[in-house]
């Protein structure tokens, strides 16, 4: 598998991949009677490759996970829509200011279900990336998402959101048009939608910008995604007063941002396993796993009526938080 972009810790893996590719080429140029030896060498390399991949990926640090979640080859919302959805009808615009390409919305079919898809889009090439602000949505993106979700609720269509953003866009226009207000209103209004809402963090779950489309009945993360209140760099810059490889690593670890950590804290309900070596190595297999989980959740939640769904979602978020409740109120401190 050739890649333009190689993560530092993936180097032993890509080394082996290069060797396999070279041998494959050699094999093609070799007469059939002499191929057996090369095939054996390829097989050996392949098993070494699998082992190395397993060794690397079963021991990713939190910061390495963040790097995988940002891998440029990692599938994005539009990729999953292509791989999972049938009859995608994209819907654009917030009817107030404009259309934000960093937020994709539209009706689609997933398995037997009609759904509304809402997803952050980072952009696959430079032009797209710039248009999408690298997945950082503006207020119009959040308002567009809410408008379409309200439309879906009107027609009793379940909502599936795919979260993949480093955070909401910090800029002059975004502030002027009420970035904070747009996200806040989404948080509040998603609470009241009387249809199933399912969210999956497929890559980056950066802060309020992620949560702004993730107030769901069920929330999952792909196994190499991250989800937290701030990016490791942002956290390192503030608390460690410097963002570099070392502080980013420390911040990523401290933030407990991995899928396993979030599951343990009750912030997400499930972790969807990516294929060995991450979603970017096998987008199709990842899409199948994602599809299966979504179909199962929609089927499950469709059994509940509107009020039950609203109550279920409220209860899910109401219980989140960790604090001590002291019987002795006279002790002022923890």
């Amino acid at each position: 598998m050739s890649q333009y972009y190689v993560l530092e810790f993936e180097k032993p893996v890509t080394e082996l991949e290069k060797q396999i590719e070279a041998l494959d080429a050699e094999l093609a140029a070799t007469p059939p009677e002499a191929q057996a030896a090369i095939v054996r060498r390829i097989d050996d390399l392949r098993s070494a490759h699998q082992q190395t991949l397993k060794a690397v990926y079963s021991n990713l640090t939190a910061w390495e996970t963040v790097r995988v979640a940002r891998h440029p080859k990692r599938p994005q919302s539009r990729d999953y829509i292509e791989m999972i959805c049938k009859d995608f009808v994209e819907l654009a615009g917030d009817r107030r200011f404009g259309d934000d390409p960093a937020m994709v919305t539209g009706f689609a079919r997933i398995g037997p279900h009609k759904v509304l898809i809402v997803g952050h889009q980072k952009g696959r090439n430079t032009t797209e990336k710039i248009a999408c602000h690298f997945g950082c949505a503006h207020p119009e993106g959040y308002r567009k998402a809410l408008l379409k979700m309200q439309l879906a609720a009107k027609f009793n269509v379940p909502i599936v959101t795919l979260v993949d953003t480093p955070g909401a866009y910090p800029g002059i226009g975004a502030e002027q048009r009420g970035q904070a207000e747009a996200i806040a209103v989404n948080l509040r209004e998603m609470t009241g939608l009387r249809v199933p809402i399912i969210s999956v963090v497929i890559g980056e779950g950066g802060s309020g910008g992620a949560l702004g489309i993730a107030v769901a009945n069920r929330v999952a993360m792909l196994s190499n995604a991250w989800y937290s209140v701030i990016s490791p760099e942002g956290c390192a810059a503030i608390l460690w007063k410097a963002a570099n490889e070392q502080t980013n690593t420390a911040a990523a670890t401290a933030l407990k941002l991995t899928a396993a950590d979030n599951l343990r804290l009750g912030i997400v309900d499930a972790v969807i396993a990516e294929p060995l070596g991450g979603a970017h190595r096998d987008p199709n297999a990842t899409a199948r796993a994602l599809e299966q989980w979504i179909i199962a959740q929609v089927a499950d939640l469709k059994r509940l009526d509107g009020q039950r769904l609203v109550d279920d979602r409220y209860a899910r978020f109401r219980k989140l938080g960790a604090f001590a409740e002291q019987a002795d109120t006279q002790t002022p401190l923890a």
Partner: protein, 311 residues
């Protein structure tokens, strides 16, 4: 009306709060300079808050030399230019409510360290030192009281405690205040002043944004009045949740209010920010707040708004 059957859960702490808020005792005003350096998220204060413990101080806005007691008697505003100093939660409660009517609630909630978070300093140590410095257990004070005879549920974020950042305790107190206002059928007033969600509780802090907003959905759908008062500074996850969800949003003059801090924005776009960017008056023009209200008029304005809501 506040439920008369509801016992005041913490008479001792109430007394203590009153004592520590004696305006004639300048040494009881905790230094806010140390707080600003602790977990200040992204926003660099453009002016220094009250630093000096002395009797006299120089107004950062008009440079007048002012007498501290006079400033404090003037609702912590400069007597010369009305520059609004930041005030802690205890003073804020005193300034807003009818004297002696505050009945604190939810005072038994204590922060924990769910993630065992450690940056250059451990979160446990930070909590301990903030608690020792402020005498508060976390960054939010809530309770019922009266404004010009009108009952309100009041929650105030406290900039003196880890920059008013929202972790689990703040989120829980705000949520209970919202629920409490709904149960009692009284208006809700939340005074925000915060650096945003608290990084040391990471994902759990983030979830408080959804929790408080969800509670507001219930409260506001049921006809409750929520007045949100934005003070200097209100940023990040607090702005992007309950602070911007007021039925009416008021802001103190020149308060910095935004989603991202000005430093982050300047770094992202690599441009100078416009004059007065993200200040109350700018937000008023942008249509993001209803009114910019000087501190001295807050009680009147809030009382009038409560009357219009018919509750």
């Amino acid at each position: 009306m506040p439920d008369p059957a509801q016992p005041s859960p913490q008479p001792i702490s109430k007394d203590k709060d009153m004592a520590s808020n004696n305006p004639n005792n300048p040494t009881s005003t905790p230094s806010r300079a140390a707080t600003a350096t602790a977990t200040w998220q992204e926003v660099k204060p453009t002016r220094k808050v009250v630093v000096s413990e002395g009797l006299w101080l120089r107004c950062p806005a008009c440079s007048a030399l002012i007498y501290r007691k006079q400033m404090e008697a003037n609702l912590h505003c400069c007597p010369e230019c009305q520059h609004h100093y930041r005030v802690g939660a205890t003073q804020r409660v005193e300034q807003l409510l009818d004297a002696g009517t505050f009945e604190p609630l939810f005072t038994n909630l204590r922060p924990t360290d769910p993630l065992n978070f450690r940056d250059l300093k451990s979160y446990k140590d930070r909590l301990r030192s903030e608690q020792a410095k402020s005498g508060q257990s976390d960054a939010c004070k809530a309770g019922v009281g009266f404004i010009k005879g009108r009952p309100v549920m009041l929650a105030v974020l406290d900039l003196d405690f880890l920059m008013g950042s929202m972790g689990s305790v703040v989120g829980e107190i705000v949520t209970r205040a919202i629920e409490g206002a709904q149960d009692r059928g009284i208006p809700l007033l939340i005074v925000s002043g915060s650096g945003g969600a608290r990084m040391q509780e990471a994902g759990l802090s983030l979830m408080q944004m959804a929790k408080t907003s969800a509670a507001l959905h219930r409260f506001q759908s049921a006809g409750g009045l929520f007045i949100s008062l934005l003070t200097d500074p209100t940023t990040g996850g607090v702005t992007a949740s309950f602070a911007m969800l007021g039925d009416v949003i008021l802001a103190e003059p020149k308060a910095l209010v935004g989603f991202a801090g000005p430093r982050v924005i300047a770094q992202t776009i690599r441009q100078e920010l416009p004059d007065g960017f993200q200040r109350s008056e700018y937000l008023l023009k942008a249509g993001m707040v209803d009114r910019v209200v000087p501190r001295k008029d807050l009680r009147n304005e809030i009382a009038r708004l409560i009357d219009y809501s018919g509750r």
